[in-house]
């Protein structure tokens, strides 16, 4: 099936970090691009392969699970190869190492650039330039290359020098202001940074489009995607209500901006088990009322329309909260769906791994054990192509795993030169023990 891969023959020189950048190139790798991650044994990229290059069991246990869920709680000697937060975004990619800060390392990177169709990066502003790889230098090696920059706040303009991760990008993009409980001050964005997901996908869209133009015209180009400007597109209703009508959207908890009433998340009789319910139409509301046995509080004529229900939303939510509390979540889920009501369980991560629908949908694929993690079911990409094998073809790229391939096969380095570069520290499958683990 590989002959039908959409990006067959496209090579990416990948300098991306964290989530937005690394997922952008992951989607392109899924589509068949040969994505070569450029890594440096002497430079620790924060939030790119693990929380830290030196992390022990105790530190891992003290950190939040999403970032430090290493196998069996033990990061082992190479935490960069088994972090739950990052390794899955390295699927279908290759990894090679080089100290690009040294002239001979830079020369190697430039050779790779000459063989690449795309260069992608979201390093701190100015990092590539400091290496001597500004756009002109890159294009001097490969004039028709597509360059993707994913800066947080833009490459130019007053905000360009602002630092930030997902939390800060979401704050400025308008996500944090509309994400939270109705009755409280803005909730710190310590849990979900919606913009990373969004920006990564848009980065891939941009490159896919630019590659089409290049295929048809031979012309490469530079793409700048400020993650904050991309993320702002995730809340168009709030932005346009402001621009058109001067209205400010604030937190509405789990209520709907689409006019669905009721719309929320309600407790069921299990421990921390919740069900989300949306009445997307008056019909769905009536179906819900019938399903509940038409209790008196729900049958008033004034509740027949969404507008009428909107005036009584507090009361409706209180009553529903009481009603759902005595029901078993999963029974309610299936029964409400059968009754024609939009409803679903709030599935925690464990429940997602056990969900019967997902078990059948092919979204999980077990990968064999490596030295760094046991045999484990990983995510496959959500898109299923009937002819192109855009799925999980190769496991997450371990650090330096493809040095042999890149140096010998791709760059044509001799055995002698390979040995020399290895001795000089360019070629490695671990980080230098003295690498500085700064955030």
């Amino acid at each position: 099936m590989s002959q039908f891969l959409p990006l067959e023959g496209v090579r990416i020189c990948d300098f991306t970090a964290v989530w937005a950048g690394q997922t952008a190139t992951m989607y392109l790798a899924d589509m068949g691009a040969e994505c070569i991650k450029v890594e440096n044994p002497f430079v620790w990229n924060p939030m790119t392969r693990a929380a830290s290059p030196r992390i022990n069991k105790m530190m891992a246990a003290a950190a939040p699970p999403w970032i430090s869920g290493h196998p069996g709680g033990d990061p082992g000697p190479r935490p960069w190869n088994n972090s739950s937060a990052f390794i899955h975004v390295l699927r279908n990619k290759k990894s090679f190492t080089v100290d690009s800060r040294r002239p001979e390392g830079l020369a190697i990177v430039k050779t790779l650039i000459r063989m690449s169709d795309v260069l992608a990066e979201n390093l701190a502003l100015g990092t590539l330039e400091k290496l001597g790889l500004d756009d002109d230098a890159i294009r001097a090696e490969r004039p028709d290359i597509v360059i993707l920059h994913l800066p947080a706040f833009g490459r130019a303009g007053e905000y360009a020098e602002s630092r930030g991760y997902g939390a800060h990008i979401d704050s400025v993009a308008g996500s944090s202001a509309v994400r939270g409980y109705r009755d409280s001050a803005p909730l710190s964005n310590i849990q979900i940074f919606a913009g990373d997901f969004f920006a990564g996908m848009h980065g891939a869209v941009a490159v896919l489009a630019a590659l089409r133009h290049r295929r048809r015209t031979g012309e490469g180009q530079v793409i700048e995607m400020a993650q904050v400007e991309c993320s702002a597109q995730m809340f168009p209703q709030a932005a346009l209500d402001a621009a058109w009508n001067g209205r400010e959207h604030r937190t509405i908890g789990n209520r709907s901006i689409e006019g669905f009433v009721p719309n929320g998340v309600f407790p069921t009789n299990g421990n921390d088990e919740w069900i989300a319910i949306s009445c997307r139409s008056d019909e769905e509301w009536h179906a819900l009322v019938r399903f509940m046995g038409s209790p008196a509080w729900a049958t008033a004529e004034s509740l027949a329309t969404a507008a009428g229900r909107g005036e009584k939303e507090d009361m409706l939510e209180e009553r529903l909260w009481e009603w759902t509390s005595s029901h078993a979540r999963d029974d309610l889920f299936h029964a409400l769906q059968a009754a024609g009501v939009t409803a679903g369980p709030v599935l925690n991560a464990k429940e997602a791994t056990e969900d019967p629908h997902l078990a059948q949908s092919g979204v999980w694929k077990e990968l064999p054990a490596t030295e760094d993690y046991p045999a484990t079911k990983f995510h496959t990409p959500p898109y299923k192509f009937s002819k192109s094998d855009v799925g999980l073809r190769t496991p997450p790229a371990l650090f330096g795993q493809h040095n042999d391939y890149v140096y010998r096969e791709l760059l044509g380095v001799s055995d002698e030169e390979y040995e020399r570069l290895a001795a000089a520290g360019h070629i490695a499958d671990t980080y230098d023990p003295n690498v500085i683990a700064t955030a």
Partner: protein, 408 residues
Amino acid sequence: MPAPDPAPSGALDGATVLDLTSHIAGPYATKLLADLGARVIKVERPGGDPARQLGPFLGDIPGPDRSATYQFLNTNKESIVADLKRPGGREVLRRLAAKADLVVTTAQPKVAQKLGLDYETLSGLTKAPVLSITNFGQSGPYRDYRLSDTVLFAMGGEMWSHGLADREPLKLGGTAALLQCGAMGAIAALGAIHAWEVHGTGQQVDLALFDIQINNVDRRSSAILSYRFSGRLQTRPENASSGIVGGVYPVADGYVEVTATPGNYWNRFVEMVDDDALRDPKWSNPLIALDPSAKEEADAIVYPWMLTRTRQEVWAEARRARAMAAPIYSGIDIADDPVFRERGLWTEVEHAVLGTFPMLSRPYIFEKTPWRIRSAAPMLGEHTDHILAAEGYDAEAIRALREEGAIA
């Protein structure tokens, strides 16, 4: 009907997409294609895309063309109304599908079968790829289940650990989960277009909203892999602050979000606040975070510093110190921000009836093939006659189709 302006060309110039999507996720996928130059022919059911009824509305006056949701999601598209339950409507679909480089649908499997939008039927009309975006995919126990943005994020996304421990799990703002799915739709669509143009491969591309959110990198995929690896579950935190300094702080005109975790970020934060008391080495002791009086001591310095500055002042200080702090912006701030305006986050669209109004502009800047608004979101059936004429229907045939209700 003015023909779309041909220049300058976009990256997807020359690609034709037959768009049978409605509501939010599907239309966002095809909007991303249209804004990069693809010709997107939106086939609307009689009465139109239900998103036309979604607020907010221009001037707070409801109307099928005044919806912000609809206007945002359908820029640069053409609209033809066809009733696919009628033979005349089916014939229109057949002719349009034959010329498309990609067909995109969002009908649920059962409805798709009824309307002839299932892959088996569509692949008889065109060799081009067909992307079907559904709630739960083409098979499995939930296949015919209903979804909303909230239920989608509840089941697929990492809602369970989002919010506070003693309260209910929280969704994202707005319709973020659906729009995220739309972006994934555009990736799948472009992958399909590449395979079509490079290899001549027509195929079925199946994309389920549930699967997309299960793949949501923030932080569903991590939480799931963490559970598989370590058995640990990410839970909702007791409170939304973290460490000695970190979280949301009130400032003179709103709020800022601050990260000052030990190490570099703490040092830069101290540099930003520039208070010698915070330079005491005791703050670098990792155990200090466990001491409530230390947090109080830090708060006594940090809160007054924050409250005597505006968001922009704090942000400027953060830039100076390279500290991780940023203002919490509302839609109003995004609409008014002079830097965003200068960079081009906003544009204006011209609408034949509504006049000129502001619109969010590009998510990305292309050097050679600009993102561009060629036309506002189409009025219902605005391009019906034009599209049909190009397909060889004469005025009489178009009138007959209209009379039988096959088109509008």
